[in-house]
Symmetry: C2
């Protein structure tokens, strides 16, 4: 069983190391860390899983050199997705299961368009992990993947036997899998949190606990979620209105938290704007829905994202 | 002719020094700079007006010690307006002309409620000046005051003989006065610029030229101005729809500019939120208008303003 990891950052590194540790044949595509990993291997530091060192890693700088794989984990940052057409066709056949472990709308659709004959799955990771040095992942907490088959018509797919088998491979490595019969519904639900909280924390440079503690911004989160529910509904995914309160009280319990978009922005790294912010807005525009709060939020994160890119050019 | 300056910062200092220089009897209310000004007087540095030093200044720390004045310039920052009921009754009679040189909605109304028998005027300053040291004002450019009589019913007042006389006092000191028959209309028009630009530059920490150069935020400015025009209309002030384009092309020509709210925020000083942002939104809510862009903007500047106040408490 050959498993490829496309993008060996915190997410790809974490799941890849655990799968390798439990005996699978892993193949890691790397970029900036390539040389370091060739020489030193990969490291995982984790209270839950113990510390792991893989001294000898199948590391690749170029997908052309990789073997055809049975399972492919797409764990690139979505800002790099333009590279996928150069990568996936080299390692995927119609027997390959491609797991798109990326947040946002239609990341699985993008992969489907590149390798339409492979079996595509969408996965939403609840994972707190960081890359703390080249090839070195620190796992903080959580490890669950919410996993479902992707069909290009975005219908409920049911929980297939193949999905259950795929889940068991991860479970064998100690990873918690929650299967879902409707990954697109799960994506919209995750957007109900990511859009307001990744968005507002980035724009305001305030963590989640500040946003929910202030009456006006708490109300803003509520209104944003109602707009997202309306957009999801227009594309056939029904989310109950009360989901907004659920997301708010979940966030109350989380304590101060800085979402990835905010961390990227503060560190002047490219921000994941397209799939989390722009595509949902695009769906609204296509259905001629009025979503002023979302429109304003997207305009704001977009100009901030562009200001980062401009800075990056200057440096 | 006794003239009081209530709040001797950049605005009060600038106009006060020019009026004193042209021979009027000025009385300055100060706070943090009081001791310094008693000892060293007031200074103005200006290419247009030359450098001026007033070595002997009638400086006051307490309004109780000030004389009854013929003209009172209210040039406090609006965040300090809660002090006005302790100040104005000591220096105003029904013969006094009170010029409220503060931006935003209803600053003149607030003063009217404190000294209803005085003659109230509203003034909108186009002035680029900074206080660069205690008692030392640097004038950069512009000096115009758009001046009009305030009536509590907010109707067009016409240009009275008294207004023209008042204007001539300032003109005698070299200050440009544009009289207006409708100061409330002028206030709404100024808000059409201040709300989107003071707001978005503060929230996004980007100057005006960035905001107008980006298609999405330029569109956002346009939509915010349309909402303000709708609110103004609901309170009887008609602004033509094309005013939005006018404000945008005006801003194109200005070049990079950081409005006062942004500068206050970046320097962690109290921000003028109430009259520029909250009151116009309140008018919309009173008239049951849907103004989502303004509502979101106000929520955002408000939480940032509160975060400053929290920091200020910590320091």
């Amino acid at each position: 069983m050959k498993i490829a990891v496309i993008g060996t950052g915190a997410v790809g590194g974490f799941y890849g190391i655990l799968l390798a540790k439990s005996g699978y044949d892993l193949h890691f595509l790397l970029n900036s860390d390539f040389q370091h990993v060739c020489e030193n291997g990969l490291k995982l530091t984790s209270k839950t899983f113990g510390d792991t060192h893989l001294p000898n890693v199948n590391a690749y700088k170029n997908a052309h050199d990789m073997p055809i794989c049975d399972i492919v984990l797409v764990t690139l940052k979505t800002t790099m997705n333009a590279l996928l057409p150069e990568i996936l066709p080299h390692i995927c056949t119609n027997q390959t299961s491609v797991l798109v472990l990326q947040n946002g709308l239609d990341t699985d659709q993008d992969v489907y368009e590149i390798v339409p004959r492979s079996k595509i799955y969408g996965g939403l990771c609840s994972l707190a992990a960081n890359k703390i040095a080249p090839g070195h992942i620190k796992h903080v907490s959580y490890n669950t993947i919410r996993l479902g088959s992707f069909l290009s018509n975005k219908k409920d797919t049911g929980i297939s036997q193949e999905l259950i088998q795929l889940a068991s491979i991860f479970e064998h490595a100690g990873i918690t899998i929650e299967t879902t019969s409707d990954i697109t519904d799960a994506r919209w639900r995750k957007l109900c949190w990511n859009i307001p909280f990744n968005g507002l924390t980035t724009i305001l440079r305030l963590d989640t606990s500040c946003i929910v503690a202030n009456t006006s911004t708490r109300e803003l989160v509520y209104k944003l979620i109602q707009e997202i529910i309306t957009i999801a509904d227009s594309s056939g995914k029904r989310i109950e209105k009360e989901y907004a309160e659920e997301m708010l009280s979940l966030t109350d319990k989380m304590g101060p938290y800085k979402p990835s978009t905010m961390l990227d922005f503060l560190a002047e790294r490219p921000m994941e704007i397209e799939h989390i912010f722009k595509r949902p807005l695009q769906v609204a525009l296509t259905h001629k829905l009025k979503v002023p709060y979302l429109a304003m939020l997207v305009a704001q994160v977009d100009i901030l994202s562009q200001s980062i890119n401009k800075n990056a050019q200057v440096h």
